[in-house]
Symmetry: C2
Subunit: 394 residues, 2 copies
């Protein structure tokens, strides 16, 4: 892409009222814009990063047998009343509105109920199991506070996978397979070293759930890390009783702030029982399906990456999620060489952000490159051309 | 994809209360499911078709200089009050809800206001124009009636492009370029022969707008087609005065029912003036940007394709939007040949839906293939293997 065509401009100043580092940098560099508190737009560079993260997640979800769907945001209260989750006292982040016919309707903040209901049409016998269904879909959550940029928003695309199993054993096998897959994803996006599988509260239907927490000073959560075992415990279950159960000692654990970049919940038969999702077992009995849910927020990953990888001048994207492979800069005298190189690199499948803007000086172009943060920079100028080379900088 | 892995099952009966042919067939074949009136979920086969249509549109939008973004659904009333469109008497399809802080918030049914506001940060001088920005984004429209399956829904992904130009001439040139691009898109998805550029009402800021109307018995609109000129006139502007202006005679026109699969609106400076989107012209004066909007609904295209291309047994997808290139069926004795062929075709980049289900008979497999409607069918059975060939049917 030629910078002269890109419609976004960088900004020197962070917008007023934007407290988080990730939103400040992403807005200044033109990746996102703020619609209102907790609501952001993805501009061309931002959408490229988001789509790279989505691509990495999709590949892993397909590899573990996930089938992609796209469920609706608008939700019929009837399904949610069956599980008790329509009640604002149970789920306090609903956005609710009304159809023009006067009926209540909600905006989905998760999809256990509609998917369990949908699967009733497609699961009849044990032969139809297991099934793994996922989507990248916009969730709406009416958060009271949203001050962490892309890390906590009122509207965001979530990858949510749901598992449907016939036995606890089959479910646990998939669960552990998904843990491995999640760790691969966090590794690929550049958060591998900082991210820990973390024991957290399982809610009403399981002793524990698994969170994936990325150590980050601006994180909202507190975790206790066992570096030897490469796992952690969320503060919410950090009790002597739990530690004993997990075979851990307080002395082995380090406290840290962290961002929850993913989670896995065993759901048991809570939603399948409530919604009537059963299967005919081999012995002929109607049995509720065992479910689990597996979430990752691609935009939250994007925000966390920026929180961890930046310097005073701007963002430092890991290669796998950078908007482009190369940031090519032409300076006076280097235009022809840069033009030629741009064509050659693109032909080779290298994606290039080409700053070809004739009216800008070297200082402005370097500042923009520092802010935007593409990992590899190539400069073509009169000097480099005279020496019959270009300047390459990682 | 192996049919034995696909979680969806076909149904013999259309669901109760589903009047439209497109939704009946798409639900029976497992492409979509109904969440409530006017709200559908895309299941794996349906998402494949939707993504193919999206891909065709994206390619054309990029080719005419479009830059892709993703704007938020949640909308701040402040922006919409500036243009007067927050008022339910002006726009009667709003879904409105409230933030937990108590403020009003709307769900976007279009994006002129937020995008014009956003572009204020990125357009300053005539040098920053023209700009063309588009997205594939979920629109929410609180329709009173929604009985046409995918053709009129309360929640749908829309491709909406917005143009930002400095002169009327520059705008009109892009407008006509986009008309060409739209006709290419309808051609590619298989609706070319039935789709007419149609003169329609321009609203308050232009004499006419352009609609793209696909002739279809179940369409909601009435148009008058001039087959010689390959254009049409919407009933809403079908007056003697307008026909005279367009140089058409009633005797040359044929009445038909049609579905509006795309539209283009000249917006003039209505939204740029209301939102304060101006640029410094070459003569130094602050000038409002000339805007246009260009919409296509990929799911509406999908529904219209099914309305037009089906028979008593099921859907007949045009090749370009079929979920797979080939529907491969193995019958007893043909399993090994089919397995081998499946591997070979996939390796060659041919996408194959492979009905490998061992427990199903030929009749059931053929019925499913007829319903699902992939254009090319290959059957491997004992008979074909003995003859050292497979059966290929278009």
């Amino acid at each position: 892409m030629r910078a002269s065509n890109l419609f976004t401009k960088t900004r020197r100043e962070a917008p007023q009222g934007e407290e988080s580092v990730n939103a400040q940098l992403l807005i200044r560099a033109g990746f996102i814009s703020k619609e209102m508190a907790g609501v952001y737009n993805f501009l061309p560079l931002g959408l490229l990063v988001l789509n790279k993260i989505v691509g990495i997640i999709r590949e892993e979800m397909n590899a573990i047998g996930g089938q992609e769907v796209l469920l609706s945001s608008l939700q019929d209260p009837a399904l949610w009343k069956k599980s008790g989750r329509w009640d604002d006292k149970v789920v306090d982040i609903w956005f609710k509105t009304k159809l023009s016919t006067g009926s209540d309707v909600g905006l989905a903040n998760t999809h256990e109920e509609p998917l369990a209901n949908l699967m009733r049409m497609h699961i009849a016998s044990w032969r139809d199991l297991p099934r793994y269904v996922y989507q990248f879909q916009t969730k709406f959550r009416n958060e009271l506070r949203a001050r962490s940029g892309l890390i906590r928003t009122r509207e965001f695309i979530m990858k949510d996978l749901y598992s449907f199993n016939k036995t606890e054993k089959e479910f646990r096998e998939f669960y552990e397979q998904c843990v491995v897959s999640y760790l691969k994803i966090f590794d690929k996006v550049g958060l591998g070293k900082q991210t820990y599988r973390t024991f957290a509260s399982g809610g009403s239907f399981s002793r524990f759930s698994d969170e994936f927490q990325t150590v980050c000073a601006s994180g909202e959560d507190t975790i206790y890390i066992n570096k030897k075992k490469n796992i952690a415990v969320n503060k919410e279950v950090y009790t002597n009783e739990v530690l004993k159960e997990l075979g851990m000692k307080k002395s082995e654990l380090e406290e840290a702030r962290a961002v929850e970049v993913g989670n896995i919940f065993p759901l048991g038969t809570k939603y399948s029982s409530a919604l009537g999702l059963t299967f005919k077992a081999e012995n002929g009995t109607d049995t509720p399906v065992i479910m689990g849910s597996y979430g990752i927020g691609p935009a939250r990953i994007m925000g966390t990456v920026v929180e961890l990888f930046h310097d005073a001048k701007g963002i430092l994207w890991p290669k796998a999620v950078a908007p482009f492979d190369v940031h090519l800069i032409s300076l006076p005298g280097g235009e022809k060489t840069a033009d030629k190189l741009y064509g050659e690199l693109e032909k080779k499948g290298v994606s290039v952000f080409y700053d070809d803007r004739p009216q800008l000086g070297a200082g402005e172009k370097f500042n923009d490159a520092d802010l935007i943060g593409i990992p590899l920079r190539i400069v073509a100028s009169r000097k480099t051309v005279e020496q019959n080379k270009v300047e390459v900088k990682k």
